[in-house]
């Protein structure tokens, strides 16, 4: 239900690769080189539980953590998030940019041994389009998908779409599925993909087990299998990691991470993610329609404190959406905490004794924590914040209806600047729930969308970003880190900025 907003990876552009310095030394390649290791089964503790394993239906991040290792897409992001061949070996684009022709890899089979052909690609894409599944918006400009022969897929577009590859390969919600597996309903629990591993058992509430797919088209995985267990409590996950019950987790207690980095018994690595968290004020309501009120609030916030409370420092403060490591990063920081300035702006706007409703959700506890800090900070300029904590579904409902003064949430997995700005700040944007309207910004975003010249595009987005920040459409707070830890036995694993968890190259020393 929320996949569009939370799991949608965006356009693949040559983003600066976001691994922190610590990772680059000696990580990535097994010390013993190409030697086939002992194999074995790696147990990974993930914080949530897959709701189901049909890649087109699920919206849960834990499902994608599992499915990342089970399914393939036509193309997929490499370590630098640039798109590289996967099921498609190569592709060509017509001169008018409206026809894309993909060559499908030969002799690819599903894990049950049946062949994967262009027909399966057509079936998968049409399923998403026709049934309007979660990822349907990614095909917004797609007119048709056809397979003139078993080795070729043709995608016909209605408008030039420079980020089509990212749309097709950005995440496993675009996976190529097997028709019979889907239609029997088995895909929910026993999905059949063409990826490096296959699901051998799925036990709700407990674990999901994968075994090596010996029919895999790429380099055979070294591991015999991967078991995903669900451990909600990070201290427990850490304990399990130390105790050897699991060898990998992405659920470390944030407050302990800096100490853990120095721990020789564990490997803890992080990468800056492309996620961002923000505060939005409802511009359809008074007095938040007044830019001065919004700017007053922006000046009242101490982002460093919010970040420290919400993420224990495992995040980078940012006043624009796009993280520092991105090629599209725009260094613009007009709002340093300045209570005098904030009070002055508020007074000019005539706002005194303001009571502001702030909507947050248990689904993302950091919003609840951050809200309490924000409330304390806004109290300083005379704004009383009433925190409203809702279920996520209810939260979305309220957001959709515009029933809020303000809310805090994050956008996860965006890569392309279009994904960062268009839906949120264009007056016709689907997620412009806070009612931001600025024709200049609309114009810039529309232009940038189809601009093929990279430099020009970057400049357009910077102009838009500046305006958005000046208007305080969103009050950007921080970009969190992706933090994962594993046992020193594990080799060949890399933390990825897009949060995809790939075990295909991993080996486990016994």
């Amino acid at each position: 239900m929320s996949s569009k907003r939370f799991r949608g990876a965006g356009v693949a552009l040559a983003l600066t690769f976001g691994l922190l310095a610590g990772c680059s030394a000696g990580e990535g390649v097994a010390v013993d080189g190409g030697q086939t290791g002992a194999g074995g089964i790696l147990t990974a503790a993930i914080s949530g539980e897959p709701d189901q394993l049909d890649p087109h239906h699920t919206s849960a991040y834990p499902s994608f953590q599992v499915l990342e290792n089970v399914y393939d897409t036509l193309v997929e992001p490499d370590a630098n998030l640039a798109m590289k061949p996967a099921l498609a070996t190569e592709w060509t684009t017509s001169d008018d940019q409206l026809t894309w022709t993909f060559t499908i890899r030969e002799e690819v089979t599903f894990s049950d041994g049946s062949p994967l052909t262009a027909e399966d690609v057509v079936y998968s894409y049409n399923r998403i389009i026709d049934e309007e599944l979660n990822a349907a918006y990614r095909f917004a400009t797609v007119e048709s998908v056809t397979a003139p022969d078993p080795g070729t897929v043709v995608v016909q577009l209605t408008a030039p779409t420079p980020n089509l590859l990212a749309s097709l390969g950005g995440f496993k919600g675009m996976a190529i599925v097997k028709k019979s597996n889907v239609e029997s309903g088995a895909a929910k629990t026993e999905p059949i993909g063409s990826g490096p591993f296959a699901v051998s058992s799925y036990r709700a509430g407990d674990s999901t087990k994968l075994v090596r797919n010996d029919n895999y088209w790429g380099t055979k995985p070294k591991l015999d299998g991967v078991t995903f267990t669900f451990v909600q409590d990070p201290t427990v996950a850490l304990q399990n990691l130390r105790g050897g019950e699991v060898q990998w987790t992405d659920n470390l207690p944030p407050q302990q991470v800096s100490a853990l980095r120095a721990d020789d018994d564990l490997v803890v690595r992080s990468a800056a993610s492309s996620d961002y968290w923000y505060l939005a004020l409802n511009q359809a309501r008074k007095p938040y329609d007044d830019v001065n009120v919004r700017r007053a609030i922006a000046f009242a916030l101490d982002r460093a404190a919010i970040t420290k409370a919400a993420k224990f420092g495992l995040a980078t403060v940012n006043q624009t959406a796009i993280p520092k490591d991105s090629a599209y990063y725009y260094d613009y920081t007009p709002y340093q905490q300045d209570l005098a300035q904030a009070k002055k702006l508020l007074a000019e706007a005539g706002g005194t004794d303001l009571t502001m409703d702030l909507m947050v959700t248990n689904e993302y506890p950091e919003t609840v924590t951050a809200a309490q800090v924000i409330a304390a900070q806004l109290k300083e300029i005379g704004i009383t914040v009433k925190i409203r904590t809702l279920d996520f579904a209810q939260w979305l409902d309220e957001q959709g209806k515009g029933n809020f003064d303000s809310f805090m949430l994050g956008w996860l997995g965006n890569i392309d600047p279009d994904e960062f700005y268009y839906a949120q700040h264009h007056s016709a944007g689907t997620f412009n729930f806070h009612g931001y309207r600025n024709p200049a910004v609309d114009n810039l975003l529309d232009q940038a969308r189809t601009e093929t010249d990279q430099a020009a595009r970057k400049q357009q987005y910077e102009q838009a970003a500046k305006q958005i920040v000046d208007d305080a459409s969103y009050l950007y707070l921080y970009n969190p880190d992706v933090v994962q830890g594993w046992s020193p036995q594990v080799s060949g694993y890399e933390v990825r900025a897009d949060r995809a968890i790939r075990f295909r190259d991993v080996d486990l020393a016994q």
Binding site: M1, S2, S3, K4, R5, E49, D51, Q52, D54, H57, T58, E132, N134, G185, K188, T189, R203, A204, G205, D206, T229, F230, V231, Q232, D233, T235, V236, Q239, N240, G243, E245, N362, E363, D391, F392, A393, Q394, L396, D397, Q399, G400, F431
Partner: protein
């Protein structure tokens, strides 16, 4: 006996029907449209209508209820909003975890409560009795989740004897299961034990005051015989009910403990369903739990009849 049985069956049937009504109405009480809520932001009229009619929500209420009950009778509790899988399967998957936890907890509770309750009654007024009463008063008052947290701190954190949470199926790895079940089972078990201790104590005390116990003593029977044959046999009849009721409510899943210890049972399922607003699953879990509860109560009544000859003939 047969009449007694039939009457109890009929009664349970009526109550169960009432339970289905409550469970069914829960969904109607959801402010706004549950399907709308389930869809979240991904709202479009077609999906909405499809999901609505798949859930049968476009029918008039009585028809919906009738078909809900009808389907429930055939074991069909609908499909999960979240995963699209059948609710019955989802709920039944969780039963073994809950079952193994509940039974372990009750066994543990009995091991503690039985000697404690009986001895404190036999020696009522003694130091031992006072200690047992303090124990049970503490056990009844302590929040189980707090005790669980403190248990994790001590046994998992400081001492490192047991894993702080998680689950291993008994059938797969009995030793792993045992080490995982220990903390949650003891946490629940201690609370249950204190309830049982009180109950056993007062039940034994009550029987001790009965004339037939004096008769038995007057016969010069050894104390052991008096206690076992005359006191306990009578005192434990009501205790059986309480134990069964405890077990039944544990089968409903001890939500907080299952959540705290990441135990994938029915309680956790309920909690997750609430979090995800997955109403069909919530409905199904509650219905199953209530049905189990009624079933256990029915069985207890039958067992009661076996134990107490006075009821047998009625």
């Amino acid at each position: 006996m047969t009449r007694f049985l039939l009457r109890r069956l009929l009664q349970s049937g009526i109550v169960l029907l009432g339970v289905t009504l409550v469970v069914f109405l829960l969904l109607q009480l959801v402010p706004g449209d549950p399907v709308r809520v389930a869809l979240g932001t991904r709202f479009d009229p077609e999906t909405y209508e499809a999901l609505r009619s798949r859930a049968g929500l476009d029918q008039p209420l009585p028809v919906q209820y009738a078909s809900y009950v009808g389907q429930a009778l055939t074991g069909d509790l609908g499909v999960s909003f979240r995963s699209g899988r059948p609710v019955t399967a989802i709920v039944l998957e969780r039963l073994p975890a809950t079952l193994s936890l509940a039974i372990t907890a009750v066994v543990f509770a009995l091991l503690v409560a039985f000697p404690l309750g009986v001895l404190s009654a036999l020696r009522s007024g003694s130091v031992f009795d006072h200690a047992a009463r303090v124990f049970s008063q503490f056990g009844v008052s302590v929040p189980d989740f707090w005790m669980g947290i403190m248990g994790i701190l001590l046994f998992a954190g400081v001492l490192g004897w047991f894993p702080p949470s998680g689950y291993v199926a008994l059938t797969e790895d009995p030793v792993g299961w045992a080490s995982h079940v220990f903390l949650p089972a003891v946490t629940i078990g201690l609370v249950t034990a204190s309830i049982l201790t009180r109950f056993i104590r007062s039940s034994v005390l009550e029987v001790l005051a009965e004339d037939y116990v004096r008769t038995a003593e007057a016969k010069g029977l050894p104390t052991r015989v008096v206690v076992v044959r005359h006191v306990l046999r009578n005192a434990l009849i009501p205790v059986v009910t309480v134990v069964a009721v405890q077990l039944a409510s544990l089968l409903g899943g001890v939500i907080v403990i299952e959540v705290l210890f990441a135990w994938p049972g029915v309680g956790r399922l309920t909690y997750d369903a609430v979090q995800a607003r997955d109403y069909p699953v919530l409905q199904g879990a509650i219905l199953l739990v209530a049905a189990l509860f009624l079933l256990v109560n029915l069985l207890v009544d039958l067992l009661y009849a076996r134990l107490d000859p006075r009821i047998r003939v009625r």
